[in-house]
């Protein structure tokens, strides 16, 4: 390589690095205290107006980084906790909470309005604040059950009955959060030792397992738009209690009733938390943002954006939710510490039991 070329190369690389640095320094307003950065997973969503209200009131500009799915986002946050990408993390749920806490992801802060959180959602300590909740439940295709004059299932026990043979599709518990939720729900129902027997029966009853929610819902479930187009033949799917309202809201024209329903006795409750990241560069802004997440304005904005339910007293949910996808009356729950203790082992034995 002659000198001329070397020189050109060095100059070229210098330019690339310079431009990169230039853009990053102008970008990283987090060093200035006027920007607050939220790190979340890719389901984060908020109305424009609600967010700009916060920006106006607080004087902070909000930057949002969405970091893959829930599991990936939490792991990335843990990996970078010494030099975090933002100030607040939103979206660690009860299946991952212990991992985040054990790794010291958050610093203490009690958000204003924490006293308005309904009792059932509160957690010990002040490292995280519950923000929203949702139920992972079996959804059914109403048309199928009407046509076959069959009662939709209402419990875990129903799903292993011959009447429902080959009707259910669920997700891979090792890569999908509804899949994991359904497994945990069955473990809560049948106990640490009983769930494996249940899954053996479920397998014998023809449960189909696909990799992720998108595929289960849009390809295999006969009650969804995609499923109808793909001639899907499974009228039962593991999804969310808020899926039927979505089927109404995102239809044109809007139907009078939801095409799908929720099997109420098959639910597992998910709660999502937010917290102030350890080593946050703008902890003051982060605290203000956490307070904002508990305001009625934000809590009431969540359902139609993220399809979850609020956790504070007195927050209203849209009519579509109360009508087509009310919260489960008596969902299965499990202590985050217990989930942390068993999760990997259970997923492992579930995999060899159901997939092999």
């Amino acid at each position: 390589m002659n000198n001329k070329k070397l020189f050109a190369a060095v100059v070229g690389l210098g330019l690339v690095t310079l431009s990169a640095c230039g853009s990053s320094s102008s970008d990283s307003g987090s060093t200035g205290s006027k920007t607050v950065t939220l790190v979340s997973h890719d389901s984060w969503a908020v109305s424009k107006g609600v967010l700009s209200d916060f920006e106006k009131k607080s004087g902070y500009k909000v930057k949002v980084l969405e970091d893959g799915d829930a599991g990936q986002a939490v792991n990335k946050a843990i990996l970078t906790k010494d030099n975090p990408q933002g100030d607040v993390f939103f979206g660690v749920d009860n299946t991952l909470l212990s991992r985040a806490l054990d790794n010291g992801l958050f610093q203490s802060y009690e958000a204003k309005g924490a006293d308005t959180i309904k009792a059932g959602y509160r957690v010990d300590g002040d490292k995280v604040t519950p923000i929203d909740t949702g139920d992972i439940c079996v959804n059914y295709d109403k048309a199928y059950f009407t046509e076959h004059k069959l009662q939709p299932p209402t419990s875990y026990d129903d799903l292993i009955k011959p009447a429902y043979k080959n009707l259910l599709v669920t997700e891979n518990a090792s890569t999908s959060s509804p899949g994991l939720g359904f497994l945990l729900g069955s473990a809560a129902e049948y106990g640490d030792d009983g769930w494996q027997g249940y899954w053996k029966k479920l397998k014998a009853n023809g449960v189909k397992v696909v990799d992720g929610w998108e595929q289960a819902y849009n390809e295999e479930f006969s009650g969804s738009a995609g499923g109808k187009k793909a001639k899907a033949d499974r009228p039962l799917v593991v999804s969310y209690a808020s899926s039927p309202p979505a089927e109404v809201i995102y239809a044109d024209p809007k139907p009078k009733t939801a095409p799908t329903g929720v099997a109420d006795g098959t639910c597992f409750r998910q709660i999502e938390y937010a917290g102030l990241l350890s080593n946050a560069k703008n902890s003051k802004g982060g605290k203000a943002f956490l307070d904002f997440l508990l305001t009625k304005e934000f809590q009431q904005d969540m359902p139609l954006n993220m399809f979850v339910y609020p956790v504070v007293e007195g927050a209203q949910v849209p009519a579509e939710f109360t009508e087509y996808g009310p919260q489960a009356k008596d969902p299965e729950t499990m202590d985050p510490a217990k989930i942390a203790e068993h999760r990997d082992d259970w997923v492992k034995s579930w995999t060899s039991l159901v997939l092999k």
């Binding site: 969503a45 109305s47 970091d67 893959g68 990996l79 970078t80 595929q215 995609g226 793909a230 990997d344």
Partner: protein, 533 residues
């Protein structure tokens, strides 16, 4: 040479080393014992075996199906050839979730094979293999066809005059000349399928698992970084072995060839045999590539008067802060930047690698540049996060990170497409130019560039397509107000409701059209200065 080396070191070697170190270097000591622990697990060995096996078969199948296609594109003129060449590249830009949908319509329940013969291939290994052919058809057509179009047909004709049969002439003249390009294409297809992720998950079902899937699970779900690090090392070793084998077989065959301008080698097919071949290739393309894509288009039109498309222009869907249609602009910006970087770095690397005085070290670098294709995207991504987080390289939140990461995949392609052509250029031409007093850059411009221009455009088109469809890196700095097309499609598919599904299909269709149009424009860039050589 320095630029590609630095680029490779900073944006690939350093992040990957950082994440592997994080996994294996705990409590102040290296946990090399972990490697044995992992290797002795039977299911890991099974995964490794399946990964290798399906990649080899996919590669063989792709070559088998696509080589006739490469020939047809290189040697025949037929109406619509340009458009078709762009269309076969379209699969590359589609998110796998969408491809899964399309493919299930072909081989799944109520799909074409089901209707015709009552055969369902979904959740079988055949669906995976076919989808790999679907994805990588363009790799072969572009890499091999690019060189094939420039081979002088008169050489084969001369052999025929001397009494060789058609087959013998092809076997003794054309095949050896094509060897390096075929090997390069095979290598790329192997690496792409070796690290296959979405296809295996969606079409094979959760019972099939590749190394890439396993690394993703260990990193993203279980958070067992040491196992992930071991798996990454295993992936490295396997890919390294393949690269070494490739280098060893190709090195002995790259010779100077007679290259002519591509526009003079193509002609209308003659005789029943040639027409039959053309018809066969077109039929394969129609069934394997066009049909799945057509399914998506059809589903996107499934609402009265373009309802799904009209919905894309509203930002009140709640999924984004902007109208989903704005993702088109974002995607194009990233893709243009990534293409520019890939062509610059790849071009410099290719030029350095063809120098006569290139030593062993430089030649070894040739193989190294291919590594990014064979290493898990999750590994590189997590590596970026923990390594590029301090000034002067605090790129975590910079937009430049996306095109840089995408260029990592583009560069190998640029190098692989250009090298066979550059190495085929007769060195005496360069020497003659130098003797006549041309400085090195001028030699390159007058001798190499005219011959390599076509390969460069093919490579640029591919780098563009890779970036347009790339999903992993964009997730890193995805913001709700600037999604790219694949990110937007994935988010729409992640929600219940007819309109969301329809919009995802509509946006996928737009993604296909953007890709095809961009590639056509690139192909048109060829100035009509027919190289006289």
């Amino acid at each position: 040479m320095a630029v590609p080396v630095a680029f490779f070191a900073v944006f690939f070697a350093y992040p990957v080393a950082a994440i592997v170190e994080r996994g294996l270097h705990t409590d102040g000591t290296w946990q090399f014992g972990r490697i044995l622990d992992v290797l002795t697990q039977s299911d890991i060995r099974h995964v490794l075996w399946f990964t290798t096996w399906q990649a080899l078969v996919s590669t063989a199948l792709t070559l088998l199906v696509a080589l006739p296609g490469a020939y047809v594109f290189a040697r025949f003129d037929f109406p619509g050839k340009q458009i078709l060449r762009a269309v076969v590249t379209v699969p590359f830009v589609l998110p796998t979730v969408v491809v899964g949908t399309a493919f299930l319509a072909l081989v799944g329940r109520g799909g074409l094979t089901d209707d015709l013969w009552g055969v369902r291939l979904d959740t079988t290994v055949w669906a995976i293999l076919l989808a790999h052919v679907f994805f990588n058809y363009a790799v072969v057509v572009r890499t091999v066809g690019g060189l094939w179009a420039q081979l002088d047909p008169r050489q084969e004709e001369a052999a025929r005059m001397l009494g060789a049969s058609r087959l013998t002439a092809w076997r003794t003249v054309t095949l050896p000349a094509l060897g390096p390009a075929v090997a390069a294409a095979a290598l790329m297809v192997f690496l792409f399928t070796f690290t296959s992720f979405g296809v295996v998950q969606i079409l094979g079902g959760p019972t099939f698992s590749t190394l890439e899937v396993e690394i993703y699970r260990q990193t993203s779900e279980i958070f067992d970084l040491s196992t992930a690090a071991v798996l990454t090392i295993i992936q490295f070793v396997a890919v390294g072995a393949v690269l070494a084998l490739h280098a060893w077989t190709v090195r002995r065959r790259e010779t100077a060839l007679r290259l002519v301008d591509a526009s003079v080698t193509a002609r209308r097919p003659r005789g029943a045999g040639e027409w039959g071949l053309l018809a066969g290739v077109l039929a394969v393309i129609a069934v394997l590539l066009v049909l799945p894509l057509a399914v998506l288009v059809q589903r996107s039109l499934d609402a009265p008067d373009f309802g799904y498309y009209r919905a894309l222009t509203h930002s009140d869907g709640g999924v984004f802060l902007v109208a989903p249609i704005e993702a088109v602009g974002n995607s194009l910006e990233y893709a243009l930047a990534a293409t520019a970087i890939a062509v610059l770095i790849g071009g410099l690397a290719a030029a350095a690698l063809t120098r006569r005085d290139a030593g062993r070290f430089v030649r070894g670098f040739d193989a190294l540049l291919m590594l990014p294709l064979g290493v898990s995207a999750v590994t590189v991504g997590f590596g970026f996060l923990i390594s590029l987080d301090e000034p002067p390289l605090d790129l975590r939140q910079s937009w430049i990170l996306v095109p840089l990461a995408q260029a990592l995949v583009g560069v190998p392609f640029v190098v692989r497409t250009m090298l066979p052509v550059l190495r085929a250029v007769d060195h005496r031409l360069r020497e003659a130019a130098a003797v006549l007093g041309a400085p090195p850059w001028r030699v390159w411009r007058e001798v190499d560039l005219p011959m390599v221009r076509r390969a460069l455009l093919i490579a640029a088109g591919f780098a563009f397509a890779v970036s347009l469809g790339e999903f992993g890196a964009t997730v890193f700095i995805a913001r709700p107000d600037n999604p790219t097309l694949p990110v937007a499609v994935a988010r729409l598919l992640g929600r219940a409701g007819d309109l969301n599904y329809g919009q995802a299909m509509a946006l996928s269709t737009i993604l296909m059209i953007v890709c095809a149009v961009a590639l056509l424009v690139l192909e048109r860039l060829r100035t009509d200065r027919t190289g006289e050589f």
